[in-house]
Subunit: 710 residues, 2 copies
């Protein structure tokens, strides 16, 4: 049975057993039963506990085996110590889906880990799917079936179903977020808490929800990434389906990471890497619970933007200023309206208002609602405008009428309309609810509104981005199990074979060879002693620069050879590399590759010197990337202006640099699983049209059979 | 009458006239009357409008002059065109306080500006104080008197009074923020909207509120700073009184600034400068309405912290991780608890919880409330802990009991307790309200909580910082009206007189002088041609470096002299400066002074090269500063590690650099109003104990009578 099928079954049981049920409905083992009753579950409920004969009119059975009917899902609320036995009973009773609430598993240390592994093994053999342990349960919002003990299940108001699916590793966070979102009339399809995610993990649930027809927005709370490649696959699928995947990733700080490990036994990776992956693959990243709700709201409307040109309409000048202030750092553009559109707006609003974006329709709109709605009608027909933001403080009946009208207009256009209504629930709550129920995104404050618009615009733009195949570059033949540490000469040979420029040079093997080549060396040259036993050339005195002729070359040869012998008498010397001395060193970069335990090969680049050493100014992507993505990567660097030619410097060959980055990323991807790390440093970037050149490099292969390969 | 007295009278009228009142209580000119009736104003109400004889049982008078009694405050809701006439009537009737609602003044352009000036002049002569125009009014929350037409005045629930005062340039923003804050049970003393602030401006209101006994927290919304020096004075006063001054400053973006100018005719200054001033003088800066409410809440409790050591308690591991994640970037420290305290906590919580900070008291605390409260009792007695953060999802009756207990414990300790209750209003609202009414700060989500704690800790630390007098440095004698542009030689002389090191050197006037000094020049030297007609020395070929002896000096002299003549035959040459050639140039800084139109003299510093040119890495303060503040200023620089000695470089003489900054700031402050700009660039910073040296500089005096002074 696939995970998707397993989740489908967990969400839609016809009969439910509750093992270890308590009559005390305020206790964790009592609440799940109470919740089924409260929300009028229509299937069969089988309480299981030898202590009782009946609970609230339901027959209570001594064990699972005594239950007369078929059991679709068993909720298990017994101590972890009894799990193996209960699992045997599940197997005998052919229960295929289990939710484990209890703790005492991997989150508690080694013994718990061992138990968790045993339980999983047994379950797999028996074909049983497990949600949990250490979880609160799940909620199929469409059918109103809560399986678990969240406080949010205790509402008397019922659940609002809709198009948002949410999978959360944490139960407390997951369901309290769900409750808060419901308060703002955000409707959900399913909410699933995975806890220790022993079997079904959060990404499995996200996968299910992405493929679910009625779910248009998928959100996930994760403390670690159980499977980085799967996350990337899901992100790509989300893009193809145009379903935003909103992620809240915890464990970003050192202490947070440690706490995460003791919490639900997760390994949380580096935040920089996660953020880079998220940007590259279009994940929508929330920083906290509030963000997540704000994002669910704007995306659940289902509209996309055609750009980031925003127009704002408000009845308060201050709100207009605020929205302008927030737009700039969020990368939104308060578009300048064409003259004829501005003229149309001027005709509608009072003379002391402003038809210049941000549009101020003044407090007069409090009296005459057509001012706002007529302005809206003009703007939905203006092609230059991608998103319309409306800010009002309108309350009472007037406010409600206006909100109804906005909701009507919103239905007539594909253009997103996002609203701020700043005011108390007493005065403005009804109006807000009208918009919320019509799925028009509405926020209480302008910052939240602009934040949501920014992410809507970003995701829409990302969805429009064409997927390119980085392997349009000539294919790279995979090396057959390369080993050891490759240093300068070997790495340069490799880079050359990839089409990356390296300085011209000759490895002079011995004196005889020297005599043969000395006339043809591309003077001036740099000479470097090459030995796998001497990695730090400068320390060994084995570098000589600016060798201008054959005489100097012979001197350099002898001098380096004797320095090497003095430095390490046993060193195995491959020869002396005489290499053309390149001139223009004004922009020095490095390109690195490293294998991330969660996501596989990453490519990193940055400028040398203080940029990397003082400012940690680097840019990261998951390999492979194409040249366009590589250009974006470069633009993120704080030092990018140096490549563009600031300070009187000339513009550098950015296209060649991007191409080189793409090529190296392709190499990293081709050798996925083999490269431990790789570093090209320095890489000189010459003037426009003059290419780049790799001046040194190292590749550390995972297989270290031999130590150093020159 | 002082502004304070004027505001006092506006807030506490015994009788109110409403000029231009409307019977339509949904209109702007009808609402103020309706609001007085709604909130049962106990003084006299005099509607004034020739159209009516009575309104709701109140006699309506044709003009102000017909009103029988004394009028304390007149609310004016007539067209701006009639203002001069109404003002005459006010004068005759001896009305001393006026609130002007209408627009049509400075915000509309030149004509409006002229009218506004006329009105102000007339009012001043007549001893009339004006609030507005273009404003919504004010609210004395203590006495429940709303004077104006805000939607927030239309509540049927009454107002909650308390210790927060709020002055807002924008009415819509001000009163909607007020309404939202009241929803969270934040009590206010006064809320005043200043609009165009023709007479009483926002800073006047802040001044009033700071001195008001029952107001402990003062908040302001500003679109521009009407008086920078007053803001600084208020900030200092706020610190002395330990009353936080929370500021939301709009008009940060270019478009926002433009909109602000059309909105309430403000000049908004550079955001960088405002942020620097705010940091230096301890203003608490909010980014948006939500921030402002969150900050009002935490400060209105009135507790301060003794440090930024935080302990968090939660019943959900995820919340603990989240709080740890947020702490790090906010500069809070999740403190490691001493072993004995940890042991005490361990005894209280379930074995599968965690007594390690973040403390996880587990969902078991849902059942046994003593787990949380006992843990709290332990922690309030732990000196290492400065702030306790509690996160719960507890709802219902249990939640309420726990909240009551937290409120009780909070009363027994000076230590701030800040709470997050994540959950719906239906389930957790009652508990939250219990805490809110006890003034215990409570938020719905962890980020908001940690954000509030950060600002509480920052302000508390700021209040503890001792005020030092930067003029402990030897006094600087103010130059008597200096003029022109001072260049290298003159500036260096000035710096030397301030005790700042400059290279030793001699200005060689002519050949005769050359012969006299050539034996005593501190070789090796740099030679520079000095002429007020040649500002770009390198362009003129008038710099020679590394002059090692008298012969070379003579050559250099002749060569520079002829270069200068070739470059500009008419140049007036002062001589040739022969200056010791300092060696260690690894860290180059600049120090600048500029006069800000709002705040006066600012001091700016940064590292040279790419730090300033590519990264715009600068640090700003208002002058004067002491050496401690100067050190803080340096630490803000991204390139600060270079001063500390990264990349194998040695540590630089940071104390000497800080001292120099302080000294220059003192110079800037002494010559406040005279310096247009000043720049010391480069300033070399030598190794520890080796001082700094100013290598070049310029001072541009405001009085430019002469052009250049060498």
């Amino acid at each position: 049975m696939s995970k998707r099928e397993a989740i489908e079954r967990l969400l839609n049981p016809g009969s439910i057993a509750i093992v270890g049920v308590s009559k005390d409905f305020t206790s964790i083992s009592g609440k799940p039963m109470k919740n089924l009753i409260r929300h009028q579950f229509e299937g069969d409920i089988y309480p299981v506990n030898p202590k009782y004969e009946e609970i609230e009119g339901f027959t209570c059975f001594p064990s699972l085996l005594d239950v007369p009917g078929k059991i679709d899902v068993a909720l298990i609320a017994v101590s972890s110590k009894r799990m193996m036995q209960i699992l045997s009973e599940c197997e005998q009773k052919q229960v295929r889906s289990v939710i484990l609430f209890g703790s005492g598993f991997a989150e508690t240390g080694e013994d718990g880990e061992r138990l968790q592994a045993e339980v999983l093994e047994k379950a797999k053999k028996a074909g049983i799917t497990i949600l949990g342990p250490n979880c609160i349960g799940l909620l199929n919002v469409r059918t109103s079936i809560p399986l678990g003990f969240s406080t949010s299940f205790e509402t008397e108001e019922g659940f609002l179903s809709g198009n948002v699916g949410f999978a959360s590793q944490s139960g407390a966070l997951g369901f309290s977020l769900f409750g808060l979102a419901q308060e703002e009339n955000i409707g959900f399809s399913h909410v699933i808490n995975t806890g220790n995610q022993m079997d079904i993990h959060t990404l499995d649930c996200i996968d299910y929800m992405l493929e679910d027809d009625g779910t248009d927005v998928v959100a996930g709370y994760l403390e670690g990434i159980p499977d980085g490649e799967m996350l990337i696959r899901l992100a790509k699928r989300a893009k193809a389906l145009k379903k935003p995947l909103i992620m809240l990733k915890a464990g970003r700080s050192e202490i947070g990471r440690k706490a995460a490990m003791s919490h639900t036994a997760s390994l949380t990776g580096s935040d920089e890497t996660f953020q880079a992956i998220a940007k590259q693959y279009g994940l929508v990243v929330a920083n906290d619970v509030d963000d997540m709700i704000d994002l669910m709201k704007v995306f659940s409307r289902g509209k996309q933007t055609n750009g980031n040109n925003v127009v704002t309409i408000s009845n308060s000048g201050a709100a207009g200023i605020a929205m302008a202030d927030y737009s700039e750092p969020l990368g939104l553009e308060l578009v300048r309206l064409p003259n004829e559109t501005q003229a149309k707006v001027e005709e509608i609003i009072p003379s002391y208002g402003s038809a210049l974006n941000p549009i101020d329709i003044t407090a007069q709109a409090l009296k005459e609602q057509h001012i706002l709605t007529d302005t809206l009608e003009v703007l939905i027909n203006e092609d230059e405008v991608n998103v319309i933001v409306v800010q009002t403080t309108f309350g009472g009946e007037l406010g409600q009428n206006i909100c109804e009208k906005i909701a009507e207009i919103d239905k007539t256009t594909e253009k997103p309309i996002v609203v701020t209504i700043t005011g108390t629930t007493e005065i403005t709550g009804e109006g807000r609810a009208i918009l919320e129920k019509a799925s028009v995104p509405v926020y209480k404050t302008s910052y939240k509104t602009m934040f949501a618009v920014k992410h809507l615009a970003d995701f829409s733009r990302f969805c429009l981005k064409e997927e390119k195949d980085p392997f349009e570059l000539p294919a790279i033949e995979e090396r057959d199990d390369p080993t050891g540490i490759w240093t300068e000469v070997r790495v340069k040979k490799e880079l050359f074979s990839l089409g990356i420029r390296i300085p011209q040079g000759t490895l002079i093997k011995d004196r005889e060879h020297l005599q043969k080549v000395k006339a043809n060396v591309p003077y001036p040259v740099v000479c470097k002693g090459i030995s796998k036993d001497v990695l730090h050339k400068t320390d060994a005195g084995s570098v000589k620069v600016n060798i201008k002729n054959a005489v100097e070359l012979e001197d350099a040869y002898e001098s380096i050879a004797s320095s090497l012998r003095a430095y390490n008498p046993d060193a195995d010397i491959d020869g002396i590399l005489a290499e053309e001395m390149l001139q223009d060193e004004s922009v020095e970069m490095f390109i690195g590759v490293k294998e991330d335990p969660q996501f596989g090969p990453l490519i990193v680049c940055g400028l040398g010197g203080i940029f990397v050493e003082v400012l940690q100014d680097i840019s990261i992507r998951h390999a492979p990337i194409d040249a366009e993505e590589a250009s974006d990567m470069l633009k993120e660097l704080k030092g990018y202006p140096l490549l563009e030619g600031i300070r009187g410097g000339s513009r550098r060959d950015i296209p060649a640099l991007a191409e080189t980055l793409a090529r190296i990323s392709q190499y990293a991807s081709t050798h996925n699983g083999h490269i431990q790390e790789m570093d090209i440093n320095p890489l000189w970037v010459f003037e426009e049209g003059q290419d780049v050149a790799a001046l040194d490099g190292i590749i550390v292969w995972k297989n270290k059979k031999d130590t150093v390969v020159n």
